[in-house]
């Protein structure tokens, strides 16, 4: 409502502002500051370069920025940073947001229209923020008879699961949240949760269309999980490891696996489209038949969270494609190394790795966006037929190629093409 209330008075408005400031000051001085000091008293302060990081030292870095570098470096090493910022959630969310914007502009260009235009001066670049604000401010409607706990929990679980996949993706040498030896298996294990969440949510909505959508999601997942895993298995055969970082390193030692396993890459690409429920495989959300599928009863930020989750998932699967087939962060060195005696955050190798990784990921994401512009939705029987008959056979063909490469001595330890 843009209009002022009838009895609006400027004096009261200023008075309420002053009242607000007063309460903030009271709370800060009486509650927040004592709490901080209590925490500082008990918690041991981090020790950086032989110096204890006291609040005094921390504040001096405002005057002497040079002294802040070790602090930042030590922060970059923490797991918290990895989880929350760089290879973790924030990085994924930013790429997801960029994906949404790129998708809208890309599709608009293909369809001879303009796309978002007015939010933000330049070509509607702030449209996403506007959409987010709109979704946050909307009322969340829960259907009567819905299972409230699951209905609230499912969107959060969806985002969390999507972020958990991101945690396993190495974005640069050493830059991975969880560098575990069974990384690939863990990825597929986590991906297996998504249809379950969809099914739970659709059941909890207590409505017919979501129910059909949830069941379709389950069908789709079962039909495509097997070719998905099989196509990744041939990568494991070539690299000899399940650790994603080592998969990338083995590609750096020889060549990108997409040259040896093009069919597997194709199967992986198709299966990940199905996993992401993108057109032409968006049967669980087919709006012409089952309104919006399992998203029918969502409203407000519940819908926003589910969308955010699905776009983070898009990033995760695109990044997985890059790691498995496109050599991860490998690429020619374009960032100059700066020789300096002083402490520096900038590391040319890492910057290069991040650059190439992001570039390749965006390339794959664009490839995943392309089918939305050119194909209609396919039917569920064709989908199941594709998954069970065609893709599994294709995946097996390329696995035999991979085995032949290993036993023929072309790849693998001491192979012909291993540098």
């Amino acid at each position: 409502m843009a209009s002022f209330p009838q009895n609006f008075r400027f004096g009261e408005f200023v008075g309420s502002l002053i009242w607000l400031i007063f309460w903030i000051l009271v709370i800060v001085t009486l509650v927040a500051l004592p709490l901080i000091f209590i925490i500082l008293f008990y918690v041991p302060l981090p020790e950086i370069d032989g110096e204890v990081l006291t609040p005094y030292l921390f504040l001096t870095s405002i005057l002497y920025p040079q002294s802040a570098i070790p602090v930042i470096e030590s922060f970059l090493d923490t797991t918290l940073f990895k989880v929350a910022v760089f290879p973790g959630f924030t990085y994924g969310a930013i790429i997801a947001a960029a994906t949404i914007f790129i998708e809208r502009k890309f599709l608009a260009k293909m369809q001879l229209r303009v796309g978002p235009l007015y939010a933000g001066k330049i070509e509607g670049i702030l449209q996403l923020i506007a959409d987010g604000l709109k979704l946050i401010s909307k009322e969340i409607i829960i259907p009567s008879g819905a299972d409230k706990v699951i209905f609230w929990a499912a969107p959060i679980a969806y985002v969390a699961t999507a972020a958990a996949v991101v945690a396993l993706i190495p974005a640069a040498p050493g830059w991975v949240v969880a560098d575990i030896d069974v990384g690939l298996v863990a990825v597929f294990a986590i991906l297996g949760f998504f249809p379950l969440i969809a099914l739970l949510f659709s059941w909890a909505s207590n409505s017919k269309y979501p129910f059909i959508g949830g069941l379709r999601a389950l069908h789709q997942m079962i039909a495509f999980e097997i070719p998905f895993i099989l196509s990744a298995l041939s990568v494991v055969v070539l690299s000899g490891t399940l650790n994603l970082t080592e998969v990338v390193e083995s590609q750096i030692q020889s060549y990108w696996f997409i040259f040896f396993l093009p069919i597997s890459a194709f199967v992986f690409y198709i299966s990940s489209l199905a996993e992401l429920e993108r057109i032409p495989f968006d049967l669980p959300e087919a709006e012409a038949e089952i309104v919006a599928g399992w998203l029918t009863e969502t409203s407000g930020m519940i819908y926003g969270l589910l969308q955010l989750g699905s776009y983070i998932k898009t990033y995760a699967l695109a990044a997985l494609f890059v790691v498995l087939f496109l050599g991860g962060w490998a690429g020619p060195q374009i960032f100059p190394t700066i020789e300096s005696t002083e402490a520096m955050i900038y590391d040319a190798t890492v910057a290069n790795a991040i650059f190439w990784f992001t570039l390749k990921t965006f390339g794959v994401i664009l490839l995943m966006l392309l089918p939305r512009g050119i194909s209609p939705r396919i039917r569920i029987d064709i989908l199941l037929h594709t998954g069970w008959y065609k893709l599994i056979v294709l995946a097996f063909i390329n696995m035999f190629v991979a085995l032949a490469l290993i036993y023929g001595g072309v790849l693998g330890p001491g192979g012909l093409l291993v540098r």
Binding site: R113, A286, I374, P376, R377, I378, R379, I382
Partner: protein
């Protein structure tokens, strides 16, 4: 508590009511419309057994506005603006047969140039309607590009009609006695260049939509309407032409100028969803040739509108005239009792006739085929309700 009988005994003892599971309980009833994204102003109740539709009951009438009753209260000219409301995309055609019937009753003849302009407006409107229909067929199958392209190209035709008639959709242009106004300057060249562009675009549509293997998979062999069934159900327009009945009112009963125009009736043999969706495109291509001929053969000057009283009235009588609209034969049955107001007006519209085929085609199909089958019937809910 092993057998079902024991369970019944137990429940009787406890006073519970137990209902045996019947075949009906396996079915899930879905109400498609009127607030469903895939229905329009229309509702049909379907029951699904697993993924298969086993029951379909159309329930139109959500946009019924009693056009036929309204006609009895207004005189001949005043009926025109409200009669074109059912299909605002095809308003030239829906007024065309009305004008023909009134002309037959009143006994006037349209000047030759007027007949040409009337046919031009009608053909342009057919393009507008069919492009819109095609756009919605695209989005029903999840093809958003196919929604945007025809919608954009439809704008070209709408601009032409705007220059010709003065309104974007509800033209009120084809009236008894001819047309409202002559064509504006430079219309012919503009029309020819835009038709040429549109013909180029049809190839793009075929590339991205009709020849797309996914679209073919979804529509080929789906919901086949055999020739015998099509005749028996009395469907019309592109639906009956897709079932190898080459019936087109423009050819069968040429009205106005159409017997001087050389064109072919486009039809297909298969009768499946693909044929029903492809015949309108063929029709549009044919319509482009018709437009070129019309523009070519049109006399350079002359009257466009027969002199007509403001309240035209003829002797008592009855007339039934039909034209080929975007959705098939569109007929008006008008009874006149000698007063300026018609005694009875009955519209026989293609959508209403094609709706009869919906239950026959939908039963036995998969749920995912529902939008493909439904919209392939060239059904416009507002027109069917009238």
């Amino acid at each position: 508590m092993t057998s079902i009988e024991e369970k019944f005994e137990e429940s009787k003892r406890l006073g519970l009511q137990i209902v045996k599971e019947s075949e009906e309980d396996r079915l899930m009833t879905l109400s498609v419309g009127p607030q469903h994204p895939g229905s329009g102003h229309f509702r049909f109740v379907i029951k699904v057994d697993g993924d298969y539709i086993v029951f379909c009951d159309p329930d139109p009438g959500y946009v019924h506005r009693g056009e036929e009753k309204m006609c009895e209260y207004r005189n001949v000219i005043q009926n025109i603006p409200h009669l074109e409301r059912p299909v605002i995309h095809d308003s030239a055609n829906i007024n065309y047969s009305y004008s023909l019937a009134i002309e037959e009753l009143v006994g006037i003849e349209v000047p030759r140039r007027g007949q040409f302009i009337r046919a031009i407006a009608s053909e342009l409107n057919r393009q507008v309607y069919t492009l819109y229909w095609l756009a919605i067929y695209g989005i029903f199958l999840g093809h958003s590009t196919m929604f945007m392209w025809p919608t954009g190209d439809r704008e070209l035709m709408i601009d032409l009609l705007e220059a010709l008639t003065g309104a974007r959709v509800t033209h009120a242009f084809n009236i008894p006695g001819g047309v409202r106004n002559d064509i504006p300057e430079g219309f012919k060249d503009r029309c020819l260049s835009q038709i040429k562009y549109l013909q180029k675009r049809f190839k793009e549509y075929e590339d991205i939509f009709y020849n797309n293997p996914l679209f073919r998979q979804r529509t080929e062999g789906v919901a086949v309407l055999s020739k015998e069934d099509a005749i028996k159900l009395g469907v019309t327009g592109s639906v009956v032409r897709a079932s190898s009945v080459p019936f087109d009112v423009r050819k069968a009963e040429p009205y106005d100028i159409y017997n001087e125009i050389d064109f072919k009736v486009q039809y297909m043999k298969t009768g499946d969803c693909f044929a029903r969706s492809y015949v309108p495109l063929l029709d549009m291509q044919e319509s482009c040739y018709i437009l070129e001929q019309l523009l070519d053969k049109m006399p350079a000057s002359g009257e466009v509108r027969a002199k007509l009283q403001p309240n035209p009235k003829g002797p008592p009588g009855e007339a039934y005239r039909r034209v080929e609209s975007g959705r098939g034969a569109l007929g008006y049955y008008i009874v006149s009792d000698g007063t300026p107001k018609p005694y009875r007006v009955k519209m026989s519209v293609g959508s209403f006739r094609n709706m009869l085929a919906l239950p026959y085609l939908l039963v036995g199909q998969r749920l995912a085929d529902m939008p493909a089958v439904y919209w392939s019937l060239n059904y416009w809910p507002v027109e069917a309700d009238r």
